[in-house]
Amino acid sequence: MSADDVYPTEMNEPHDFDDVAADALLSGDPGALPQLADFVGDVRVAYTSTPVAGAEIAALMGLSPRMPAPSFVSRRFERMRSSMLAKIGAATAVVAAATGGLAAAHALPAPVENAVSHLGIGASSHANHEPPSVENSTTSTTVDSTATTMPTDTTPTTAERSDNHGGEVSAVAHDHSSEGCEHGAAVSNVASDGRAGSDSDEASGTGSEDAAENESQSGSCETTTTLGDGGTAATTDNNEGDTHQSDGNHDGMSPTTVPGGTTPTSELRDGGGDHGSSNGGDANSSGNDHGGTSGSGGGD
């Protein structure tokens, strides 16, 4: 027995408890010592209470641990994430199916089709990496600075025209060696590939007559385009032999009077699209070969 086990003042005190009485007291029998019985009861009440099982113990006991409920934000995020995943999956499936179908129909450009065929989607007819044949292609686009190759059954827009027709027209328009009517006529002649004069002569209707009348009245090369309803120019397609209404102004503007001396707009672009921009005197002349394109884009 160590010194800590016994307080100094206890050594000579009588012990009133035998083991039987102590066991009875600790088991709840008050016996002859109700004060100690109250003390034992107070100790049990004061200290004994079952704690809440933690998550790990609850898992061992097969109980669901008390986890915090997911917040509204996290629940909404879960819904958004599942919805987004579903949409992305559906979009991927659609793209894959469409790409595979186009690849099977050989409707994709060669590099794309080769890439698709490498992925195993669609037909593998281009697996030999041969470039597609232009003749067999119906909608192929060739990389050319000025021309778009159209299918053989359509009329090529760049037939019989130089590669830089707009540039030529622009050069003539910027050439101020001639002035006034002559300048406009020269520009018109270049723009219409030399058919301006004959077109104007052959053009029926009031256009040429009015032009001649205006020229005689004002002494200048001012020409007039007679417009129909909606700003359409009355022209005659000599090839077709009938008169029809063609839209002389694609962008909605209606150049009713085009002064011949100030024809060039000087904002020329490469390619045939500039053909109509240099419209000195050409607005009145319907192109025999061009059909409705002669007056197109008048001054855009």
Partner: protein, 185 residues
């Protein structure tokens, strides 16, 4: 063997087999006693430490060999060692505000809460007047429902030493109570 001991034996066998019902029975039968013992020893977080102790016991229950009596002694030995470790840690650390131990009486009426608090203070004062070994013996006997032999096993003392500690501890408490009553009169 009492019915409680039989139930404990069955629960131990179930827990050793990994049956969740065995763990649940053991937790319900022993967690309150372990928590009470740790509260009496004024550990910082008695409920959390009770979970730690029981989790440690449950995880190593496969290595336990014995009956319900031995299991109780083993469990409280681990709880006592945890309390000693906690006391050592708290000695090394700056002083912390002690947590109020015992049951929380939230929701009860004010008189009951006041009486419970007074009972706590009284019990704390009486147990605080005892030597550590006397306090350990009485708490393990009262709160842990351990026998003298089990207490001797937990404390690493002989049966006779525990008997003497118990006797002297009870006598000391009785003297304190008697002196308090004499003061009131």
């Amino acid at each position: 063997m009492s019915k409680t001991e039989e139930t404990l034996d069955v629960a131990i066998a179930q827990a050793r087999a990994g049956d969740p019902l065995g763990f649940e029975t053991l937790f319900r039968a022993l967690a309150g006693s372990v928590a009470g013992y740790l509260r009496a020893r004024s550990v910082a977080d008695p409920d959390g430490m009770t979970n730690d102790v029981l989790l440690r016991v449950f995880r190593s229950i496969g290595t336990f060999e014995g009956d319900g009596e031995g299991f109780r002694a083993w469990l409280f030995t681990i709880a006592r060692n945890a309390a000693l470790d906690d006391a050592r840690r708290r000695r090394r650390r700056p002083a912390e505000a002690p947590l109020s131990h015992g049951q929380e009486h939230s929701g009860g009426d004010a008189e009951t809460e006041v009486m419970a608090k007074l009972a706590h203070e009284r019990v704390d004062a009486l147990l605080g007047s005892l030597s550590p070994d006397q306090r350990d013996v009485l708490v393990l006997r009262i709160v842990g429902d351990l026998s003298i032999a089990q207490v001797a096993s937990v404390l690493g003392k002989s049966y006779e030493a525990v008997r003497a500690l118990q006797r002297r501890g009870l006598a000391s408490v009785l003297r304190k109570i008697s002196s308090q009553e004499a003061v009131r009169q």
